[in-house]
């Protein structure tokens, strides 16, 4: 071990903007782990980084776009999926990943999520689910559990949260998985699997927010939160997404959907070729 070690020596350094390290995230935040698993997956697949585009939204997880040494777009709140749609459709050679938080993707961005999944647009969406709006201080979000405390639910949350796995599956995603930030290997494998599939892929990562949600709900320090994940997670590959629950005593993780379906990108390209063929053959597009 040498004294002044530098990040330059890290095997994954080439995927990172070293001049911006270390990231702004709190100690024990899951965002850094998600970034770690993401670049690890890309590295193991040996993908062409010049063709990878990461799109993120507003929020703690959204800052990831600034730390990755790839083409990246840090968009407005809730819109990364729509921007990613434009990027992928305009240049199909690019591989597009949307990495953002639960509020960004499912509150303000909810509409874009369900439609992109419905259309089966070719992109990978990774959601860091820490059960609150972290960047702004820990407010209630669409995945905050019932009765939980946040700054805007000081008396306990009276809203039911989404089951994101169910939402994604119901919207038509072709690959749906959920892991916690502790399941680093399985998460990396899921990301690898997803990056090699075509269509709309969704991976939910239950992520610790020790500074806010964790603190408001007395979940302890980061290690205690991760130990809790270890204790309550159950791997249930392939169960019905409606049963993939998250409760105070159980987090169901695993891969829930893995299907094939024509993607919007394939269909639109086929349409273009058909139209042009018909034009060439002389028959006009009938109205």
């Amino acid at each position: 071990m040498s004294e002044a070690e530098s990040l330059v020596m890290h095997p994954l350094a080439k995927y990172l903007r070293l001049d911006r390290f270390p990231p702004i995230w709190c100690a024990g935040c899951g965002c850094g782990i998600i970034m770690n698993c993401f670049v690890r997956a890309i590295d193991e697949l040996d993908l062409d980084i010049d063709k990878m585009v990461v799109v993120s939204g507003i929020g703690c997880m959204g800052r990831i776009a600034g730390y990755l040494n790839m083409d990246s777009f840090h968009t407005t709140h809730g819109r990364p999926i729509a921007v990613a749609a434009g990027i992928k459709l305009a240049n199909p050679e690019l591989q597009v990943a949307v990495i953002s938080g639960d509020g960004d993707l499912f509150a303000i961005g909810g509409n874009h999520f369900i439609h992109a999944a419905r259309r089966n647009l070719d992109m990978l969406v990774i959601c860091s689910n820490n059960f609150n709006y972290g960047m702004t201080g820990g407010q209630v979000g669409p995945t905050t559990p019932l009765e939980a405390f946040t700054t805007t639910t000081p008396y306990g949350n009276i809203e039911h949260p989404f089951n994101l796995v169910h939402l994604a599956a119901a919207s038509g995603a072709v690959y749906v998985a959920r892991w916690t930030a502790l399941h680093v290997r399985r998460l990396t494998q899921s990301i690898k699997k997803a990056l090699q599939k075509k269509g709309f892929k969704f991976i939910e990562v239950i992520s610790p927010c020790p500074t806010l949600y964790g603190r408001y709900n007395k979940m302890g320090d980061p290690i205690q939160i991760m130990k809790w994940y270890k204790e309550v997670s159950e791997i249930r590959h392939g169960i019905d997404p409606t049963e993939a629950e998250i409760s105070s005593s159980r987090i169901v993780v695993g891969e829930f959907v893995d299907i094939e379906k024509p993607t919007y990108d394939e269909l639109v390209r086929k349409l273009i070729l058909d139209v042009q063929r018909r034009l060439r053959e002389g028959s006009q597009n009938e109205s």
Binding site: D71, A82, L89, A90, V275
Partner: protein
Amino acid sequence: MKVETDRTVLTGKHFLSGDYACAEGAIAAGCRFFAGYPITPATEIAERMARRLPEVGGIYIQMEDELASIAAVIGASYAGVKAMTATSGPGFSLMQENIGLAVMTETPLVVVDIMRGGPSTGQPTKPGQQDMMQAKWGSHGDYEVIALAPSSVQEMFDLTIECFNLSERFRVPAFLMADETVAHMWERVIIPEQDQIEIVNRKKPAAPPADYLPFKPDESLVPPMACFGEGYRVHVTGLTHDERGYPQTDSPEIQEQLVRRLCDKIRRNADKIIKVKEFMLEDAEVAVIAYGTPARAAVSAVKKAREGGIKAGLLRLITIWPFPEKHVEEIANRVKGIVVPELNYGQIVREVERAAKTTPVHFIPKFGEALHTPMEILDGIRRMK
């Protein structure tokens, strides 16, 4: 991307509606991505693009709302494809946040706003010019954009191409602000040969990736644009950023530098952007300043005025933003009065008053629905004599 057929530029004489001419102009300009949402009276643009884009290898997608539409257009533009969306007042309002993102990230794109009666849902099938200020001030923050106002179906074709060229040149959103009348009227359009249409493309970086700073401008104040997938690994963000594109949210100097440049690149290049048309203005004593459909009635009014012995003239504004202050100021200095007919309750007339200073300005509002008649404008001219 695809095999280009010869359907890119439909050279020849056509009888088209304004909306259709706009779509043809976009395709002729090189637009190969359209993301939109149906809204009266711009729906026909989307419909025409849905039919025509596959013919030229472009992508049409109907998004789930206008916010997604403008977001997808921004993405497509950064992926290297000329992109456009079309909407009306209510959709334009929805797009404002991401228009700000496009300004901040210096994304070339075109937004067509076919203006209708407002505010809110208003009168969807009736014309208006009530979004003119919104085009400039609709998003939060200080910024400059380019906005053009067509007066005829031919201009719907020509100015759409102009919008694309200006947005590519200055890396800024360009708006085609047309009232519903121009969009829905049918007129003759002459589409020239492809090689006679001037196309401007975004400047690409000359430096290799290691030396390239994505937001470092050249002398024109516009940075060359590297797109995704070209090996430059650009980071694009809506946060205040430095020349590397990295967020710098604590530095007042960077904020000032960035905001100044985003505005100055338009303000200082205004002369290269602004277009107006003068009609009988050389010796005019009363000037009508108008744009869009009212300008057509103004032509008749000016002619009638001249027949009646009044030296009237018309300054038709083609560029609305940046506002042609110098032109207005110069005319204000030599006329006795200015008449401004608008299909709103006072928008661009304020800019005219500001530039005209002490020269009296007579404003003729129409609230949408009914258009100005030449007689109404003539009355105004007579008042200013």
